[in-house]
Symmetry: C2
Subunit: 381 residues, 2 copies
Amino acid sequence: MRILILGGDGYLGWPTAMHLSARGHDVAVVDNYLRRNMAREQNVEALMPNPNLHERVAAWEEVSGRKIDCFIGDCGDYRFLSGVFQEWHPDTVVHYAEQPSAPYSMIDDVTARLTLLNNLGATFNVIWAVHEFAPECHVVKLGTMGEYGTPNIDIEEGWIEIEHKGRKGRFLYPRQTGSLYHTTKIMDTDMLWFYVRMWGLRVTDLMQGPVYGLMTDETEQDERLMPNFHYDDIFGTLLNRFLVQAAVGHPLTVYGKGGQTRGYLNLRDTLACVELSANQPAASGELRIFNQFTELFSVNELAEKVQRVGNGMGLNVKIKPIENPRKEPEDHYYNANYTGLLELGLEPHFLTDEVLGGMLEEVIRYKERIDRNKIMPRVRW
Amino acid sequence: MRILILGGDGYLGWPTAMHLSARGHDVAVVDNYLRRNMAREQNVEALMPNPNLHERVAAWEEVSGRKIDCFIGDCGDYRFLSGVFQEWHPDTVVHYAEQPSAPYSMIDDVTARLTLLNNLGATFNVIWAVHEFAPECHVVKLGTMGEYGTPNIDIEEGWIEIEHKGRKGRFLYPRQTGSLYHTTKIMDTDMLWFYVRMWGLRVTDLMQGPVYGLMTDETEQDERLMPNFHYDDIFGTLLNRFLVQAAVGHPLTVYGKGGQTRGYLNLRDTLACVELSANQPAASGELRIFNQFTELFSVNELAEKVQRVGNGMGLNVKIKPIENPRKEPEDHYYNANYTGLLELGLEPHFLTDEVLGGMLEEVIRYKERIDRNKIMPRVRW
């Protein structure tokens, strides 16, 4: 299969590209280094050095003997993106090409506008490029579990049947989020659903939870193939921040009460979910939505896990709740379904103490590069 | 009250400005002539000549003795829009400043992109300008009943309580539309709801049905004060098209089966709804949503009304179903609630034969300006 990966330089994009390449697919990556540029501008660069995308592709060929095609450009530029479609003829396009940070989207009007226009502009162009130049191409779009927020009823997989005043209807599950970034993902879903109905596109929308992990069958073969690792307040995930804090002896900063519960998954499982979706595509005119995570954890549960694993490695890990910089429920009902990807064949990798210990060891290897000034929240909303 | 009207040159914006000015409010209008420019580019200019916005404001002052301030510029340009807020200090902003045509949004990728970026860019800037420079300002936003589409359950006013697996939650009523234009209005609602929750904005989102009519207490005072009247396939409404067809002896073109049912309202009632909303603003942190229409009609019912009224005026009006150029249900359940504005004090003006006859007479006065080439649908989706 010919698989085009938009945002192929990202934390998920690059490991996905290698994973699919290793399994015999023809792969091309597209990126404009937006995340790298934003991270440099905000002075929050990744913990480990990452070669640029051309260098990554070359290193992958050296290690695996397999070629990945590489296009540097902006998916928000239709002339560029439609050119890639016309030149490369994908069967599947994996769309990761969005500004990925909730805090970044909340800094000021400039970063908010960039998030809105970049994310919707890219998704719009993907839709049009598929429609005009690859109408049978299956779009695998990365959404987020954050689209649903934390509703008081069970979260279903994308859709809900509502019974109201004696009648029934099937609808997109109602969505409401906690950041402008997440709101742009709701808008993406609205737009995809519209064009799926109008044009019979094939779309799989993956409502993904926060991803953790550095190691995959491919990344562990060569240090140059590692994905980026952000621990800062802008691009870092909760678990990465806790690991870095444990490594440098900083108390784990739980935001507020720590009851915030989300669905998490291992990086290996993200790759598997994308591959399973690509291999069993959505039908023409179908917006297929999966909830993509494997385990639910609260912030407190993750802090306790990191503390236990860190202490087991001889660290002295403390937990210290701090004022929540975000407007979000800290104690809420949360029950989300996630059977679709398991039915497609996903075999989850869970967040064991061993997995966590492996990540912590990796972070400790780069301990001298950790900047403690980037750990505490600076963006408030 | 100081009321700023964005899109003040539009079919609704200009009559709203005069209506509120006549009732003693301080009014300013903002427009960049986007709709006029698009109409000229598509060769579908309005039936009657309309003076430009400066000329309209001057004519209104001549007729009424009241001044309306006028700013020509693009609400998508934050420097311009935030400048207007800082200079003019509105208590209420009425946001009509969007590309208003469903067919225009479906012509090609250029018009679709313009619709997406223009509409979301304007709404985003309104949100930020209010947040930064007028945090107590009440935003009255024009949405559309089209956001809901034609669901198989009753349409509530913006919100729905869902009971699911023994638990309950209140959500934005699920939305799914029939054009990209309407989809941008869903996205507007998503974005407004996000920032209302984050920043405590005051927002009234008016889910308006198609509006008809030319005459208000103000427009009927002077021909120069009349709103624009589009009958073409891009900017024209269904009823306007039928009236023009009746006037020139063209069969009324019902799209498909004609069972498409929508909520309609008189132009006078739009003005009243906006005024009622402005006078009784939403609370801080409230996204108040009203369904804004007064009567439900199917396409066939409207065709029959126009036929009856036209024949009563000595015309020989035929009805001729044609292939539907749009992808939409032609026969569907439709039951929408609309009590909120009645409770605020709305006294509806209904679509009587007299009202319809008055509009038809006005159209006949301009009969020689009607271009029959602009009547039939050219945009298909």
